[in-house]
Symmetry: C2
């Protein structure tokens, strides 16, 4: 968890480079003085500029009301070295009274544009504001605009965690570039 | 591309095991006698049962009108051995008159419940019907119900392709199980 100090401002129209591959993310929230973290795997990019991001959140999650009422969150991307924390967070609830930052050794850091905290140990953090809540009741679908992006320069090839259900994760092994085979407009 | 003969019926409420990790997919369509394939990376699971799946499709894609009018598609998951075809499809358009199945050595196979074809060479194929078109105009967001699922028994750990923009793909290296650390209701 040594990438914490290296996060830098990152272009909003390029956040797809980190979210489109499909990693699970840690959603941090803050509402009325309480902070929380949840694990989330059902999400997608919805636009480059503005940088739109959609995700499904189950109403049974403790974070659901905090996110809906605060209308803000931070989407943080964890890596393999954080697997214990990820599994722990995914199997606990703030309704039991625990503080997940403290319980799982994570560090909240102030964001620039929202009150929800960044998670220092994650290599990438995206500050979000809720821009459309009309699909929440029917689909649990929150549509966010990413308003600030922070990404560490290293690692170049982060060991993100991709969830496949049943407690199993897929971890990247190699990065393959076919850049020269693409037409510029298709990159 | 030897998994073609091995696809079997797969439980609809478990399709998240293949789509949640975030692979790019090949969307096959059929409308008025024409078949087409497009590459797509912006998608998410939206529900277990019914098995709901959301995806973004740009209106500039030749497939856009075919999908919107036929209200059907098949979502096929390619693997690393198909990278040439994936890059080729991503950099060509049916508007040029080419047949992408023929051009890229892929084999259409009849689906069970939709007219769009399965792609034989993909290890997994999910037949879909459009169930909600109300978010298309504003967000390009198609919401589908997966009505048939076909998945090969092997490979157990498919070398799916996860796109990160700029012509670069992430490929799975390892599968990590923490099944025993999960509460049953959280799997």
């Amino acid at each position: 968890m040594s990438t914490s100090a290296k996060k830098r401002n990152f272009p909003l129209d390029q956040v797809r480079r980190h979210l489109e591959p499909g990693p699970i993310v840690l959603v941090s929230s803050r509402w009325r003085g309480n902070e929380n973290i949840m694990v989330m795997g059902w999400h997608m990019i919805l636009g480059f500029s503005p940088a739109l991001f959609g995700c499904y959140i189950w109403e049974g999650n403790h974070s659901y009301a905090m996110l809906r009422q605060s209308r803000e969150c931070v989407i943080n991307i964890p890596t393999l070295d954080m697997l214990d924390a990820v599994v722990g967070i995914g199997n606990s609830s703030a309704s039991s009274g625990i503080n997940k930052f403290h319980e799982f050794g994570l560090t909240p850091e102030p964001a620039l544009s929202v009150k929800a905290p960044l998670i220092r140990e994650c290599y990438a953090s995206f500050e979000c504001r809720l821009v459309d809540d009309r699909q929440i009741d029917e689909y649990g679908l929150f549509i966010w605009e990413i308003v600030q992006a922070h990404v560490a320069a290293n690692p170049k090839c982060p060991q993100t965690l991709h969830y496949r259900g049943e407690g199993e994760f897929v971890v990247p092994g190699s990065y393959v570039s076919r850049h020269s085979d693409f037409k510029p407009q298709n990159l």
